[in-house]
Amino acid sequence: MTFSGEFFAFMSLALVAVIGGVLLLNLTKVMHMIIALVFTFISIAGIYVLLSAEFVAVVQILIYAGAITILMLFAIMLTKHDDASEAQGTIWRKLLLLLGVIGFAFAVYIGIYNFNVEQLPSHLHENNVLQIGKALYTKHVIPFELTSVLLLVALVGAIILAKNDEKEAHKE
C-alpha cells in the first residue's frame, strides 16, 4: 500500500466518519448527537466520491445531510428533549451488548480482511450521471416507477399518522 493522496483522503474521511459515530454514542444532549452525525454523513459522501460514484455522493448530501437530519431535528423539537438521554439501564446489559457487537464485528472482519478480487478497469467515473440515467430508464424502469408509488404511500401515510384528529380531540 503506497502512501498516495488517495490513501490520505480515504484515511481522513474514514477518521471523521468514525469520530462522528463515536460522538453519537458518547454525547449526552440529543441535539449535539444529530449535529455529530451530519459530519459522518458528509464524509460518507466523500467516500462515495473516492469510489467514483459522484451522483450517489450528491444524493447522500441532499437526502441524509439535508432532509433526514432536518426531519430528525424537527422530531426532537416537537417532543420532549430536555432530559438528555439518561442512562438508567444496568451496566451489565450495556457490557453484554458491547461484547456481542464486538464479537459480531470480529466474526465479519475475519471474513473481509483479506478480501481482494483482482481489480478490473472500470468506466464508472466517466459520465457517471449519464450511465445511471440510462440504466434507470432501460434496465431498471419497473422498480423506478414502483418507487414513486412507494413514496406516495409514505407521504400519505405520514400525513395521516401525524395529523391531529379533530373528532378525537373533541371527545377528550
Binding site: M72, T79, G89, A154
Partner: protein, 104 residues
C-alpha cells in the same frame, strides 16, 4: 486504478454498522434509535457502492441499488417519525422503554 484495497472500505462500513447497531440497542431516546438505524443503512450503502467498483465484474448496478436503498430509507424515516409523533401525542413520552403497551 485505485491504490486503496477493497477491504479498507468494507472495514469502514463494518465499523459504522457496529456503531449503529450498538446505538440502536442501547439508546433510550426513540429519535436516536431511528437515526442509528439510518447509520446502519448508510454502512450497507457503502458496501453496495464498493462492490459496484471492486466486484468481480464492475458495473453501475451497485450504485442504482444504493439509490433505491436511500429512497426506501428516507420513506422509512418519514413514516417512523410520524408514528413517533402520534405516539408522543397519546402517551407523552419518547422513552423507548415505556412503549410496552402491547406487552401485557
Amino acid at each position: 486504478m485505485s491504490t486503496i484495497p477493497a477491504s479498507a472500505f468494507l472495514s469502514l462500513a463494518l465499523i459504522l454498522f457496529c456503531i449503529g447497531l450498538y446505538g440502536a440497542l442501547t439508546k433510550r431516546n426513540t429519535v436516536i434509535v431511528l437515526i442509528s438505524i439510518e447509520l446502519m443503512l448508510n454502512a450497507v450503502n457503502i458496501n453496495l457502492v464498493t462492490f459496484s467498483k471492486y466486484g468481480i465484474k464492475p458495473s453501475i448496478t451497485g450504485q442504482i441499488f444504493a439509490l433505491f436503498a436511500i429512497t426506501v430509507a428516507a420513506a422509512e424515516a418519514a413514516v417512523g417519525l410520524a408514528i413517533l409523533i402520534a405516539l408522543y401525542r397519546n402517551r407523552r413520552t419518547i422513552n423507548i422503554d415505556e412503549m410496552d403497551s402491547m406487552k401485557n
